[in-house]
Structures are given as structure tokens and as C-alpha cells.
Subunit: 155 residues, 2 copies
DNA sequence: ATACTTGCAAATGATTTGCCAGTGT
DNA sequence: ACACTGGCAAATCATTTGCAAGTAT
């Protein structure tokens, strides 16, 4: 499967940082690339390529989906972007650092809970103990039933 | 997302059991359905719909992909079948009980490790502690780096 | 000037759907 | 008999690729 890893990218906290990063890697800074960055910086949760191409539904000028995919792939290669699969829909993309986050999805109510990696360190330790794996929950989420759904069913 | 849950199906250990189950639910037992069951019972790991339609590559008579998908969906509704996403490829299907299994995937070497749920009970406990969720790793696997890959990188 | 990028169209892969003929019960 | 199913073609969705025209450096 090969999931993008953190990568050597220095922390990019703004579009300008990202732009500098692109130049530093010898990549060109085109309008299409800026638009993808704008969308990602504007979003507070992972976005589909389609939504980025749609300009977040009009907030931002729209661009071509093919280019969006190509640029997202390029950015993933730089370690600037990551993608998650939170369910059966399309892949969702986010800035790698915004998205240091990890996810839990409730199979009953479909709610998505993002959390800081530290919150799942105990889980990581348990996985390591059980299997020797060093786990990450930022590509595939932890699926289960959330506390409220369980309570609702009297568990 | 809504992941198929265990379901009310009684334990089906053979094709005949499954056939009885279908009849008990008022569903017809057609040749196409038998073929899907044959493939699933013959497999030792989850299969793609395409592979089932191909008759496991010639071992079994082939059938129509559309029917395979329809029947897999029907069987999932009965709790007879489940599907997993082990990476970026197509969904993989397996008998629900064969597939009481849960999965770990290494992001470096792409190896897949299936294990009995009990092996991950510690992990489940840790997830519960951290989030209140009751987790399952049979729909999305735990992604991470396996012990050998970590060792190879001197971690 | 020139190589990197884009936009658009067409291709691919996975999965779904419409529809009518076929068949299990 | 009759409703449930299957097969096949066409449709849909997500993503990728080919290629000529456009543009960042």
C-alpha cells in the first residue's frame, strides 16, 4: 500500500512557507498549485480532490480535477500533504501537519473524531506489545462504536 | 460509513449451511450464488469481486461481476460475508466467520498479517480507555511498520 | 528558451444500475 | 405461475494518462 510518511519537509505554517518549499525543491509555483494550497490551508478537515477542484464550493476559483490530483500527488511526495480514507467515499487530503491528526470513526453514527497523536499513544503501545508494529491511525482510522452509540444501546 | 456487523446469522461452516441459511431467509439458491459461496469457502484470504467472478482464476466456473457484487452485497446483509480494505486496491470479501480475523498491514513492505481478534484485545482495551470506542480492525486494518522493517531500519 | 505544468479529453478500474430473459420454489 | 435472479450493456465515480498549448524561471 505504501502510505506517505512524515517526510523531510520543514514545518510549513502558511501558503508562503509552502511556496518557498516548492521553490526549494525546484518545483514551479503555478496558479493551479496555489489554488490547491489555498483550499488546504482554508479547510479545517480533510478534503476530496473534487471539492478542492470545485474551489470549496465557490469560495475559491475552481481548477481542473486532473491537475488537482497531480498536484496533490506531488505535494504528498514532498511530505506536505497526506490523504486519509475515512469511509467508502473518495480519498480525503489535508496538510501533513494539520493532519498530524489521527482519526476514529463510529460505524453506527458515522461520526468522525480527529485527535492529536498523543491521545492514541497508549493504543500505539498496545499495538506494539501485541504485534511489534509501530501503528499510525492517520491513513485508515480506528473503526468502532463510539461511547454515545454504545450507551444508546445500553452496553 | 456503516460497516456490516456480526449479524444474526447462525454459524455457517459449509456451503450447505450457507445454502440453508439463504433458504431460511426466503432467498433463492441460484447457480451464481453457489459459485460465490464456493469461491469464498475455497479461499484462505479475502478475495476481490473480480477474482470471484474469474472463478479464482479457472479453479471454479466464472460468473458475471455484476451478479457477484449483487450477491456479495446480499450476503453481507445477511451477516454471512464481510469486506475489508487492506490498501488501495478493490474491496476484499470473505466469509464473516473465516473473517472473524483482524488485520495489520505494514506500510513499508506491504505485508498483511491476519490474526485472531483475541490477539488485539489489549489494543481494544487501550482504544476504549483513550476514546470510549469499542474498536474493530476487520474493516480497516491497523497500519504501521512491522517489526522486521523497523529492525531493518535500526529502530 | 526550455523544461515543467496545465487543461481537456479519453482511458482505466471499481462498482452500480436498467432491463429483459431465465429459473427457483 | 410469479417473483426473484442472472447476464449483459450502459452508467457512474474516483483516479490516471496522453498530449498539445501555456507559462514559470
Amino acid at each position: 500500500m505504501t502510505v506517505a510518511r512524515g517526510g523531510p519537509t520543514t514545518h510549513v505554517a502558511s501558503i508562503d512557507d509552502a511556496v518557498h518549499e516548492l521553490r526549494a525543491r525546484g518545483l514551479r509555483v503555478s496558479a493551479a498549485r496555489r489554488l490547491v494550497l489555498e483550499a488546504l490551508f482554508a479547510a479545517d478537515s480533510p478534503l476530496s480532490a473534487k471539492r478542492i477542484a470545485d474551489g470549496l464550493g465557490g469560495t475559491i476559483p475552481r481548477s481542473d480535477v486532473a491537475s488537482v490530483y497531480r498536484n496533490l500527488e506531488t505535494f504528498e511526495g514532498l511530505g506536505l500533504v497526506r490523504h486519509v480514507h475515512l469511509g467508502h467515499g473518495p480519498s480525503l487530503y489535508a496538510l501533513a501537519q494539520t493532519h498530524g491528526r489521527e482519526y476514529l470513526v463510529c460505524e453506527s453514527c458515522d461520526s468522525v473524531q480527529a485527535c492529536e497523536p498523543a491521545q492514541l499513544d497508549g493504543v500505539r503501545a498496545a499495538v506494539h506489545l501485541a504485534s511489534g508494529y509501530e501503528a499510525r491511525f492517520d491513513h485508515f482510522p480506528i473503526v468502532g462504536r463510539c461511547a454515545s452509540c454504545r450507551a444508546a444501546d445500553g452496553e
